[in-house]
């Protein structure tokens, strides 16, 4: 005979304001097997937990039902309390009467009735609970960082600092990411390259860090502590181990008209290239879409081979193939970053019509000493010095879903203030206008920075939005905009227009999330496990989030999050083994019909089939193909139990009979 204890939590007024907790405890006390039913103000408090512990001992409870908040909040708390009192922790069930009841109902009678029903369902379930014991699985002492921007670099450095091996997978030919393209950083105006490149070098020189540049993740298997990842190293047609980065090949290459991606197409590079002077690894890469020899147009082109001839170490290999490597990792950190959005939908700003209408990131390159103009700000169209520049804020940000991104891109207000100030500092004869909706500067020394742009540098901040940009024959650009404070429509004859373009997660993030079985929001930002309390972990164990892949961030925030993600990963890597979830699937071989339905739906590859010998009537035997579950790989999602047509597959802690008992209790 079961001896069940029921504990109803008030959660202050969170539950008690809409649920009559006394009535719930009273009603549940009459359920079969219930020997004690109590309510208390905060079950999760020390005193509340003691109430459970004491009751277990006093009444010799065989099962506990806590009617409280979501099991995601405190299931573990109550399981631990039960274990401390000598009860198997898996004999505790939670009835969620907060998120699924008190918070969503207004009427006390309705909410109370529902809370009682939810309590009854949990009691029905706990009748069928069996004690479970968690197993253990080993942790591979190596971390994978996906993305080699400042987020990925910082995470890798911190993990290596703790003594663990880390691999960085970067899809571009060099690590460095967006920060490498930025000229100066706010709010201190120090040079981005000066603070980033030492970190890049540090990463490349650290013996515990391996950089796979020009590579991507192509498959992920396994689970926390035990991931197996396939990395595709794209062919760069250059032997990384031989190339010295001398650059002779790039000079020899006759194909010089390749849009330079590092300078955002503002100038050209050769078909074989090193992205920029401080690239890591400093190794050449052939762009097969432009290489005359690899593209093989005319006969003359096919025999080009000039880079190979120029190379003194024989590093060029036109026949090099993509390479796949497989590696085991205990933790994976996603640091896939962001990109500015495409501006095709916003051509009222004439971005596609006029080369002097640029994005803010393009302006970074135009102002950078390693940029197309050697650091002198010149108009892309005619290489003249601009005397009037208009900045447009919130291009594609803060939009209705049908028009653009619904979120604030967060970094634009600050970098625009930075751009405006740098221009006024360097070119005092240039007038700078900034059209803003709101100036958002919540950060240390941020508002002071923006005020400096206005008060010290006399940047014209105008509250209003640009509505139409018309390039004129004389090379100026007519910017038509509203000035909301003076209630007039302005026309500014600008020489350049800079669009503070919304940022979005990198396009590789979505397929990666599928591989990692992590969640994303509707904007393709990775979702953190808890918005407030677990901001750098994904909901999938062993997967951590670093930088702008989780939401728009500036550099200081990115670095802070990168280090936080590293410390979470280190917390995992220091363990020799981790406790497994005992709520895993198992197959009843006598009922299994060998259909493979479970194997097909399993997202973790935990199910395999094997031929087994079974005793049949009259002393005969038969070989049957049956499913078996690897409990170390199974994550207990339950997909197989639903897919199984014969009912052979069942889940510990959530068995078919338990779920049916709950449904019966609810429908009674």
């Amino acid at each position: 005979m079961q001896r069940i204890g029921v504990f109803v939590c008030h959660c202050g007024t969170n539950i008690a304001a809409t649920v009559d907790v006394k009535a719930v405890a009273e009603a549940l006390s009459h359920e079969s097997g219930v020997v004690i039913s109590q309510e208390y103000q905060y079950m999760c408090s020390e005193a509340g937990q003691n109430l459970i512990k004491d009751s277990i001992k006093e009444y010799g409870l065989t099962g506990v039902v806590v009617c409280s908040c979501s099991p995601r909040m405190h299931e573990n708390t109550f399981r631990k309390a039960a274990a401390a009192a000598g009860l198997n922790p898996y004999l505790v069930e939670i009835a969620n009467i907060r998120e699924q009841c008190s918070w969503i109902h207004k009427d006390i009678a309705t909410a109370t009735e529902k809370a009682i029903i939810l309590g009854k369902a949990a009691i029905a379930k706990v009748h069928l609970n069996a004690p479970l014991t968690a197993g253990e699985s080993p942790v591979a002492k190596r971390a994978l960082v996906i993305g080699g921007g400042i987020a990925g670099i910082q995470t890798a450095l911190d993990i290596a600092e703790a003594g663990f091996e880390v691999d960085i997978v970067e899809k571009e030919a060099t690590i460095g990411g967006k920060m490498a393209q930025i000229d100066k950083t706010f709010p201190t105006l120090d040079c981005a390259a000066c603070i980033l490149t030492p970190k890049m070098v540090e990463a490349s020189q650290n013996e515990l860090i391996t950089i796979h540049s020009y590579s991507e993740v192509s498959a992920v298997k396994g689970f926390v502590g035990n991931f197996t990842v396939t990395i595709k190293k794209k062919t760069r047609f250059v032997d990384e181990t031989k190339c010295t980065g001398c650059g002779l090949c790039t000079e020899a290459c006759p194909m010089k008209k390749v849009p330079n991606a590092f300078n955002l197409g503002l100038d050209n590079r050769s078909a074989i290239y090193i992205p920029f002077a401080q690239a890591v690894p400093k190794v050449a890469t052939i762009d097969p879409n432009y290489c005359l020899k690899l593209k093989g147009g005319t006969v003359k082109e096919k025999v080009c081979g000039k880079c190979a001839a120029a190379c003194t170490v024989g590093a060029i290999n036109y026949h090099q193939q993509d390479e796949y490597i497989e590696q085991k990792y205990g933790a994976i950190i996603v640091a896939t970053g962001f990109n500015p959005i495409k501006l095709d939908k916003y051509d009222e700003f004439a971005y596609n019509q006029c080369p002097d209408v640029v994005t803010s990131l393009e302006l970074e390159r135009l102002m950078n000493a390693a940029g197309p103009n050697g650091g002198t700000l010149l108009r892309p169209s005619d290489k003249t010095h601009p005397h009037k520049i208009v900045f447009v804020q919130c291009v594609g940000s803060r939009c209705d879903d049908s028009k653009g991104k619904p979120y604030c891109s967060k970094i634009c207000c600050m970098y625009t203030a930075k751009h405006a100030m740098l221009i006024r500092e360097k070119y005092p004869d240039t007038e700078v206008y900034v059209f803003y909706i709101d100036v958002r500067t919540p950060g240390k020394n941020f508002d002071e920075f923006y005020r400096r742009a206005v008060e010290q540098y006399n940047v014209h901040y105008i509250k209003g939005m640009v509505g139409k940009v018309t390039p004129k024959a004389d090379g100026t650009i007519d910017v038509q905009a509203s000035d909301l404070l003076s209630n007039e429509q302005l026309h500014i004859d600008a020489d350049m227009v800079v669009l503070a373009t919304a940022i979005e997660p990198d396009k590789t993030a979505r397929p990666l999330a599928t591989m990692l079985t992590t969640q994303m929001d509707t904007n393709d930002f990775f979702t953190e496990a808890h918005a407030k309390l677990r901001p750098v972990e994904s909901a999938t164990a062993g997967i951590f989030l670093s930088g702008a892949c989780q939401g728009p961030k500036d550099i200081p925030e990115t670095v802070a999050q990168a280090s936080a993600a590293a410390s979470k990963a280190i917390g995992l890597l220091v363990k020799n083994s981790i406790t497994c979830n005992p709520c895993v699937a198992h197959s009843n071989e006598l009922m299994c019909n060998g259909c493979s339905a479970c194997e097909k739906v399993c997202p973790y590859g935990a199910i395999t089939y094997q031929d087994k010998e079974f005793r049949m009537p009259d002393r005969t035997t038969a070989i049957r193909r049956v499913a078996s579950v690897n409990p170390a790989v199974c994550q207990g999602c339950g997909a197989c139990t639903v897919a199984c047509p014969s009912g052979a597959m069942d889940l510990n802690g959530f068995s078919n009979s338990q779920i049916m008992a709950e449904v019966d209790a609810i429908c009674k």
């Binding site: 919130c394 209705d400 209003g464 909301l484």
Partner: protein, 127 residues
């Protein structure tokens, strides 16, 4: 504040003025801005405040070209032109409030003016 009129304009336009984030892009893009006393963003805000009669009595309601530039370019999908139209209809639906009368048409004509202009003006200015 006239709540009945506000309700009527909101219903007739089908616009949720609360979606506006006050960026002023509608007024930044409006080709009739200089001809208007009240501008597109003011239409949206004044309707939100219920200040409809001021708008109804302003010539601004006849200056909107219904070019839908504000509708298409509004980042929040507020559709200001639909608000202007709803206010104009509220004005011209009042008896004797037609903005254009048939008798005045002949002097507006020239030999090339397409009918399209006349029928459109009638639709915009009269009930």
């Amino acid at each position: 504040m006239n709540n009945n009129l506000k309700e009527q304009v909101l219903r007739s336009s089908g616009v949720n003025v609360l979606k506006c984030m006050r960026c002023g892009k509608c007024s930044g893009t409006c080709p009739s801005y200089d001809e208007m006393e009240y501008h597109p963003h003011q239409f949206v805000y004044m309707v939100e405040k219920g200040d409809i009669e001021t708008l109804m009595n302003s010539k601004s309601i006849y200056k909107c070209l219904t070019c839908f530039a504000c509708v298409d370019r509004c980042p929040r999908n507020v559709e200001p032109a639909k608000v202007v139209e709803a206010v104009r209809l509220a004005a011209i639906r009042k008896q004797g409030n037609n903005h254009l009368i048939a008798d005045s048409i002949p002097e507006m004509l020239d030999e090339d003016l397409p009918q399209q202009a006349i029928v459109t003006a009638f639709r915009k200015y009269t009930k």
